[in-house]
Amino acid sequence: MEVVSPEGLRQDGRTVSCLRKISCRLGLYDQPNGSSYIEMGNTKILAAVYGPHEVKNLKKQQLDEVIIQCEVSRIAASQGERVKRPRDQRTRAMSQQIASVFEGAIRKSKYPGSQIDIYIQVLQSDGGVLSACINASTLALIHAGVELKDYVASCTASICRGEPILDVSYVETQSSCELTIAVLPNKETICSLHISNTLHQTQLDEVLKIAMDGCQSVYKEMHAVVREYMRNQHAIMTHV
């Protein structure tokens, strides 16, 4: 099975440097402090942020900064095979990765002694789940009004026969590696990098470059949605 056809197109008709369609929404629920929904192609994620609030487990409390807790769960029909448990080893590992990404992005010293909870639900997974989760959490944190240094935009990339490809779907990850990076787009720094399967050292640079460019496009999409949301809401807020 060819990942990239001789004409340079992929199975879903994209070119090698083309992202899947991104659509996102802020503010789905009233109960959590912030919530968001993101679709990156067929990958669909819901995120909710609670806090900063009082620490539940006093043993974990840090007196000079905030602790970030993350929990990812998958619904049973989220992928090809039925998921038996909503939370397992894999989602726990992913939760920790996401929490550590935001360790670098949230201004932790602003909330000493508190806790921020991020709850993520994977509704459908089709490659790039981790990056979609990170993007969804960013939007939910922004909606909650948590102080962030910058957005965290995340994207995946891979390589196929020496040619780097952007934003891989599940089928495309089967035959090669999947590199997920999270960047602070305004500062152009990487705050997390994760590779599944092997990637040759000499190929890392070009894959990284295409992924960085992808993150900037993801950032633009998210930024537009946040601005639109604010424009609708804040116009009235400054009244009275």
């Binding site: 922004i142 909606h143 962030l148 240094k149 604010m230 116009a235 009235i236 009275v240």
Partner: protein, 304 residues
Amino acid sequence: MIRLEKSMIFKYLPMDIILASERPPFSKLGQKPGTRPPKLVTPGEIIDESTNYIRGHGTYMENGNLIASVAGYVTTVNKLITVTPLRQVYQGAVGDTIVGRVMQVQTSRWKVDVNSRLDAELRLANIQLPGGEQRRKDLDDERGMRGLLQEGDLVCVEVQKIGNDGLLKLTARTSKFGKLTQGTLVKVSPSLIVQDKQRMQNLPCGARVIFGANGYIYITPIVVQDVVTEYSEDYEEVSYDVREIIGRLHNVIKLLANHSIMISRTSVVTAYNISAEQNVPVKELLKPDIMIDIALATVQELNE
């Protein structure tokens, strides 16, 4: 809109179901005429490149640039620049009247949830005893703390001071503060509450509203103000008319918050009157299309 009546599940409850796709779009309620559109920023965006500003909430300094750390609108007071987000937790300011819920009873203090990043602290020494008695609190008072305030009770308090770590220390030393009985709590974002000296208001429609600065709004029936603070439960029946007024006020405040209209005595009274004039039943006020109508009418009237 699909109207299910006497369906299998909800045999006795006729209910309205609306598809998400049929939901009316969030209307742009527009700008107040004659005002400049607010400057909106998102995290990571540079607000100003000069350093002769003082950084306030929601901003930070990096490489000589003033950068926003929350998504919101920029306000400049002289040289102080702050960014106010739409939703946030309560920051706390000394002297604010706030409403909170008792979460824990500890030794000689209560932990109160006030929508801030830490639960606030209300010391036994800082409350007025029932009957307005003035004396030092002893061990017996400490043992009877749960008799005064239990977990889940609502209190109206004032912020006395803010500790080093941002812990809010509360006080309820005068008769207007203390335990709240018989009423409804509405939670909104604290950034929607208008700064006002008078936080407890008797509205002309016949209810008393406490606009807690922390975004907790409490609606009670108007009572003849007793001078002494009571910490007992009040089980007296509230008449249907008053309950309806409270319910309407509750839904009206929810509606205003939903459309991010600043909540103050004027806006609440205006929206209440509009909804009452149009004879909208109280429960209908929670329907998205009716919410938009009332919000639009309120904004229009406020602008005039």
